[in-house]
């Protein structure tokens, strides 16, 4: 009898739930005055309702969603912050926002004004939205399980208007940032105290500072992203167990620009990435137990600049092609392993034809050591003298560190 009662209860629950979802209301918002404003619609709506925003320009601001809602733009409506205001706050959980253009948020020197703020919540989806000409585009604070999918964030086009970060996340976890395009912001993606998140297939291009910038964010995976033409490349700091796979770091070119800056990074993996035309492809400072495997380094200024504060790196199976300097370091660097890489500057031979060079390759040249010690010596960059000294050093090494060498350099380019 008790069992039947439970069953009935269960059935009742299911039916009731269905009833609620069927009963969920849909609000239509149109840009003309007589109609409902977005803010009014949000206020009127009950949990689980849907708000459809029709095409048009809405001059509304500081709309706050504090309950589960779905807000969908029909034919791309625009909510305009008129360069003064923040536009939308998501404070409730289970909120989905789709197909809306957020433009012209306010700008501030001392406040983090954003087009969209997600605060102290969970289970939010931001999808197919456009963020145009905002200060911060999406600002996330203390939230879980937020998904940013297929958005296009673009800023910095308007002269004199400052721009801040594109996707800015603080103290959050289980985020999914996927298929977004971020251009012209200060940092494309900024993560601080963000853990267990996945950043996948984004393009962060032409941002003023870093394409991706994160700190104190552990156990995250970055894959298949493109970070290109950013002012200072990508900076990854004070984090553990980071996986960076299949990303492309390119054209981060300029003084103190890096393809990838690893600062105080432990137990991480940089795998199968492509680095092209960066001033320094990977700059590692205090990076411990980092695996750099199967990457392509093509036409960079420096491929690797690994400071002696980094211990136990493994550098294996990478291709180094057309780089000005393959490697530099500032002191007594200790690597765990360097093996099986292809170096286009390798001049050794392979008598037994096993595809492995018979003499080791030393990627650190005389001149790269000189300029580490005395930057003024860059005055001699590309001089004939330097070429001669490099040649002499490679024949009779006595300044270059003895232990930094690839004992099994690959004769052929590694297929990746």
């Amino acid at each position: 009898m008790e069992r039947i009662l439970t069953r009935v209860n269960l059935v009742f629950l299911i039916v009731f739930n269905c009833f609620i979802s069927v009963e969920a209301a849909t609000f239509h918002v149109k840009p003309d005055k007589d109609n409902l404003s977005i803010a009014q619609a949000v206020q009127k709506a009950n949990e689980g309702d849907t708000i459809l925003i029709n095409q048009g320009i809405y001059l509304e601001h500081e709309i706050t969603i504090d309950k589960p809602l779905t807000m969908i733009g029909v034919n791309r409506p625009v909510i305009d912050g008129q360069d003064k205001y923040e536009i939308l706050f998501v404070k409730g959980s289970q909120v989905t926002i789709k197909g809306i253009t957020f433009s012209n948020s306010g700008t501030s020197n001392y406040m983090d004004l954003a087009a969209l703020k997600i605060m102290n919540t969970k289970d939010v989806i931001i999808q197919d939205c456009i963020f145009e000409n905002n200060f911060f585009a999406i600002f996330t604070n203390n939230s879980q399980n937020v998904q940013y999918i297929g958005n296009h964030l673009i800023s910095g086009r308007e002269k004199g208007k400052a721009s801040a970060n594109g996707i800015h996340c603080w103290k959050s976890n289980h985020l999914i940032i996927q298929d977004n395009i971020i251009e012209g912001h200060r940092d494309g993606i900024y993560l601080e105290f963000v853990t267990k998140s996945k950043i996948e297939n984004n393009q962060s291009i032409g941002n003023k500072r870093y394409g991706l910038h994160f700190m104190f964010s552990h156990d995250n995976i970055f894959n298949h992203n493109v970070f290109s033409k950013n002012g200072a490349g990508v900076a990854v700091m004070y984090s553990k167990r980071v996986e960076m796979v299949h990303n492309e770091f390119s054209d981060n070119w300029g003084r103190s620009a890096y393809g990838l800056l690893l600062k105080e990074i432990n137990d991480s993996k940089v795998d199968k990435n492509l680095f092209t035309k960066n001033t320094i492809a990977i700059f590692a400072d205090g990076a411990n137990r980092v695996l750099i495997d199967s990457n392509q380094f093509v036409n960079n200024g420096w491929s690797l600049n690994i400071n002696a504060s980094s211990a136990d790196a493994k550098i294996t199976n990478n291709n180094f092609i057309g780089n000005t300097f393959d490697m530099a370091t500032n002191g007594n660097l200790i690597l765990k392993l360097m093996a099986g890489n292809y170096w286009d500057k390798y001049e050794g031979y392979d008598l037994n034809r096993d595809g492995v060079g018979d003499i080791p390759y030393r990627p650190i040249t005389f001149y790269s050591i000189i300029i580490e010690r005395n930057a003024s010596a860059l005055m001699l960059f590309r001089s004939f003298f330097v070429k001669l000294m490099d040649k002499a050093e490679s024949l009779l090494p006595n300044l270059t560190p003895n232990n930094i060498k690839d004992d099994t350099p690959s004769i052929k380019r590694i297929k990746l």
């Binding site: 003084r255 000005t324 590309r382």
Partner: protein, 255 residues
């Protein structure tokens, strides 16, 4: 003066070395542009050519030519011609021949494959380097009577400008490691036309990003309209000063 230049030019162009030099440059440059897929990389290799072969041929060829022309000069000196005219004609004749060889040998491929400001910088500085080393050769020949010694001196001087000077610079930089060196390196670079040309050319290229703070110092002095005035002005001085000194000596020289 025109007539004298004309005959010197004709005489130099009869010389097979200039032709060989031109073909050599042409093969090198075309080859470099063909092999590399990025024109900028070829330009960097051509820069090396610019900084080594051009001064070498400029100084050695000019020195040898002037020594071998002692009869010619003697013949001209006995004619009613100003000595200054003879000497300037020598300079112009040699400069013209070597510049033409460079313009065809290097300039043409650069214009075809990389017709931009970097290429243009390369062409202009290449011509300037040719002139500078002709001027230095004139200086050597007028002060050193003996042909063997003179050619030896020009070789040494080339070695000095391409290699030794930079070695000394490196030494000095390490001796003064504790001091701020920014102004020093700018000062040092103007003491060697090859270094100056290298730096001015690199500043024009993307590659200058690799030079970091050093590049910024050079940028401050050598780019912008005043910077170009300074850098190219110094290169012109490198032509004018040896030329004038040698002319002064040549006017008083016993033949």
């Amino acid at each position: 003066m025109k007539k004298v230049i004309k005959y010197i030019m004709l005489d130099i162009l009869r010389n097979k070395i200039v032709l060989a030099y031109m073909i050599c440059l042409l093969l090198f440059s075309f080859g470099l542009f063909m092999v590399e897929d990025l024109p900028e990389k070829s330009l960097i290799s051509i820069l090396t050519l610019n900084l080594t072969l051009v001064p070498l041929v400029g100084i050695i060829f000019s020195t040898m030519y002037i020594y071998n022309s002692s009869e010619f000069i003697e013949l001209l000196v006995a004619q009613p011609i100003k000595r200054k005219t003879i000497w300037f004609s020598m300079f112009i004749g040699l400069s013209f021949a070597l510049s033409i060889a460079f313009l065809i040998g290097c300039g043409l491929p650069i214009l075809i494959f990389s017709p931009n400001t970097q290429g243009l910088t390369m062409i202009v500085t290449g011509v300037l380097l040719s002139l500078i080393f002709v001027s230095i050769a004139l200086f050597i020949t007028v002060y050193i009577q003996d042909k063997t010694k003179g050619i030896g001196a020009s070789l040494l001087l080339w070695l000095y400008f391409t290699i030794l000077f930079d070695g000394i610079v490196l030494f000095v930089l390490f001796q003064l490691l504790e001091y701020p060196l920014e102004n020093l390196i700018v000062g040092l670079s103007i003491l060697n036309p090859i270094d100056l040309v290298r730096i001015v050319s690199l500043l024009k290229m993307d590659i200058s990003a690799l030079m970091g703070a050093t590049s910024a110092v050079f940028r401050q002095y050598f780019t912008g309209s005043i910077g170009y005035l300074i850098s190219y002005g110094i290169l012109l001085l490198w032509i004018i000063i040896p030329l004038l000194l040698s002319t002064r000596k040549f006017i008083k020289k016993d033949l």
